[in-house]
């Protein structure tokens, strides 16, 4: 599909705007079971994060935590589109991307609560969710760092001939840090099987990214600088995201090299638990709440003739899973002293002397 056709060393970049047109594919909607999977994913992510939010308010979540309420369509689309052995690299805003790879809710919730049954036994915390067995290769809390790291996993896949693809999610604000630039050029020249997904939710922490970025589309308008096609898509449309994800994954898997996707979306809440997000005009918030990816998608599925009872079932199951996860997480023990000095080194220990 044109939106992901690669023009290596492309001398001229079509504007993200025009690409945006192209990005909405003429292709048919995904088949029903795919759409149901997408809906189920979005619902599970939404319910999980709403519960996580309640638990902050009860002061059960220690440290910080970053919700992606409103951005679920992107994580869901890739979660459904990726091969089970593909690699995901996320940021501190990584709950959705972790769950979307099939990581159970309980260890994720328990990690937020700092319990021993947490995904990393409480040693990593909410910003570093990782589950290697699910291809969730980590959540990274220093802006930009994981783009080069994802290139490394892609390089390894290329070297091993495994056909795996690395998908790395990052924000609009991350496009202005040096690591972004180095990773994009590096991936392009080595034709690495990596998909760069910029979740453009318009804001860094409290600053509107457009006020500190030289171009309108922080990712898409940089694509030409790496010989890539600009690609700006609606990150709140699960079907469109799914098509774009499939195309980028196929291209990477077949040796076509990297794709840079800018998915427009919105962070319905604050940057982190500490943030009431007062800096955003109410009109803007309202506009985006109206573009919430989930209700719209539910309506679309009903319009497509899917039985509402099926969707009810999905919602009910997700709600039950969240309740169970909450109980199991709360019941988790606090990590004990034995964990403190474990696993600095591969031998399981932490000794710096002989």
């Amino acid at each position: 599909m044109a939106a992901t056709a690669r023009a290596k060393g492309a001398r001229s970049a079509k504007s993200a705007k025009s690409a945006k047109g192209k990005a909405a594919p003429a292709s048919a909607p995904p088949e029903e079971r795919t759409r149901l999977a997408l809906y189920e994913q979005m619902i599970r992510l939404r319910y999980f994060e709403k519960r996580a939010y309640d638990l902050f308010l009860q002061n059960l979540v220690k440290g910080t935590s970053h919700l992606a309420l409103g951005q679920e369509a992107i994580a869901a689309a890739f979660g459904v589109a990726m091969r089970t052995d593909d690699y995901t690299f996320a940021t501190y805003r990584g709950h959705n991307h972790t769950l979307a790879r099939g990581v159970p809710m309980t260890p994720v919730m328990a990690e937020l609560l700092g319990r021993e049954n947490g995904l990393m036994a409480g040693k990593g915390g909410s910003m570093h969710l990782t589950s290697v067995e699910h291809g969730m290769m980590g959540s990274y809390a220093i802006v930009g760092a994981h783009l080069p790291i994802a290139c490394g996993a892609a390089w390894s896949a290329q070297y091993r001939g495994s056909g795996q693809v690395a998908v790395v999610f990052f924000g609009d604000g991350a496009t202005n840090i040096g690591a972004f630039h180095e990773a994009l050029n590096f991936a392009a020249i080595w034709d690495l099987p990596v998909v760069f997904v910029c979740e453009n939710n318009l804001y860094m922490e409290y600053t509107r990214t457009s006020t500190i970025t030289a171009v309108e589309h922080p990712a898409a308008d940089r694509a030409a600088g790496y010989g890539l096609e600009p690609l700006a898509v609606d990150g709140n449309d699960a079907d469109e995201m799914y098509h774009v994800a499939i195309a980028a994954l196929d291209k990477a898997r077949s040796g076509g090299g990297p794709t840079l996707i800018e998915a427009l979306t919105y962070r319905q809440g604050g940057h982190s638990r500490a943030d009431p997000a007062k800096y955003r005009p109410q009109a803007e918030v309202d506009e985006w709440l109206a573009r919430d990816p989930i209700p719209a998608y539910r309506a679309r599925l009903l319009a497509a003739g899917i039985d509402g009872a099926v969707l009810d079932g999905i919602e009910k199951a997700a709600a039950e899973d969240v309740d169970t996860a909450t109980e199991e997480a709360k019941a988790g023990a606090l990590p004990g002293p034995d964990l403190l000095m474990k696993d600095v080194w591969a031998d399981g220990g932490a000794s710096w002397r002989n």
Binding site: G122, M204, A274, P335, L339, W352
Partner: protein, 325 residues
């Protein structure tokens, strides 16, 4: 006299200096309109305007490059690196450029700039947002390094750092942001390179920095109750280091204990012990002892983080054991 939080003291210290010198400018991520992610710079944009107080992109190399270039051409910039862990993405500017350029140019340039950064653990932020990096900076010639432990020191040392003609790494202890303290009215300024003796004792000297200072003080209280009478010194400034005050107290008490939040290896306490051992070896009545975070990345869970960072109890137990040997 007013009671202020450590957090509030930051904006007060910066504002005090921006009022008296319009060469002072301030830039960083979310520092202006939002008043800082730790709310340490609230009100500065309103008072000094968008030309002197500027929000930047997530571009730490650009932030520090801007500060360095401005400092060498007559301004006195203050740059914020939100968390000191992020020095990792702009370390070249700090250690290879800012720290060395005066010496390399045979003194043709000076760099009157301050780099403020939230430092240290205790907030359950995990390994990438909790480091104590004071020793990274101390190890590099050409940088002055300051870590205040009270609201009054925040203002006084901020003032001194901004007025100082050399680059100063000003580390704000995140765990202390909510800490309250009495602060005098009017202009407050202080002197870099001076340690503070917070309490004088006969038996041992505890030397602490930043977030460890209040813990050393309460440990000293408990130890006094147990019959061990300690001097407590707040280092405040790692470079320049006030060896005069510290060695005097260590020599007088005969015992040295350092209380360091950093992971053990190459911490400032090791440097201090080596200085004391070399210069006042025969005044030491027993082994100098370092109380530090073990040499591990910091875990996120509260129970684990509390086990890692030196606690009052660990300080008390360590000193008691050593003194009773």
């Amino acid at each position: 006299m007013a009671e202020l939080t450590y957090r509030e003291a930051i904006a007060r210290g910066i504002a005090q200096e921006m009022r008296r010198d319009d060469r002072v400018v301030f830039l960083g991520e979310d520092v202006a309109a939002a008043g800082g992610v730790f709310k340490g710079t609230v009100g500065l944009l309103e008072e000094f305007g968008p030309v002197r107080v500027r929000d930047t992109p997530i571009s730490e190399q650009a932030i520090l490059g801007a500060a360095m270039g401005a400092a060498m051409t007559g301004l006195r910039p203050i740059a914020e690196i939100m968390y000191s862990d992020f020095f990792g993405v702009c370390w070249d500017l700090v250690v290879n450029q800012i720290a060395k350029s005066r010496y390399m140019t045979n003194g043709q340039m000076t760099f009157p700039l301050v780099i403020r950064s939230g430092n240290g653990g205790g907030l359950r932020f995990g390994a990438q947002h909790s480091q104590s990096v004071e020793n990274w900076a101390m190890a590099v010639p050409g940088l002055k390094v300051v870590v205040p432990s009270s609201p009054a020191d925040v203002i006084g040392l901020m003032s001194a750092a901004i007025r100082d003609p050399d680059p100063v790494i000003f580390l704000e202890e995140k765990a202390l942001y909510p800490a309250k303290g009495e602060v005098a009215d009017g202009e407050i300024t202080d002197t870099l390179g001076t340690a503070k003796v917070l309490r004088t004792g006969e038996h041992a000297t505890l030397v602490a920095l930043g977030n460890m200072v209040p813990r050393a003080m309460s440990a000293a209280g408990d130890l006094a109750a147990a019959g061990i009478d300690c001097t407590v010194i707040d280092v405040r400034s790692l470079v320049p280091l006030d060896t005069t005050t510290i060695l005097r107290e260590v020599a007088r008490t005969g015992r040295l204990f350092t209380v360091e939040e950093n992971p053990r290896l190459c911490g400032w306490g090791g440097e201090l012990v080596s200085i004391a051992s070399e210069e006042i070896f025969y005044d030491l009545d027993g082994a100098p002892i370092r109380i530090t975070t073990p040499h591990i990345p910091l875990p996120a869970a509260d129970t684990l983080e509390d086990l890692a960072i030196p606690s009052v109890d660990r300080i008390v137990a360590t000193v008691q054991k050593a003194m009773n040997e």
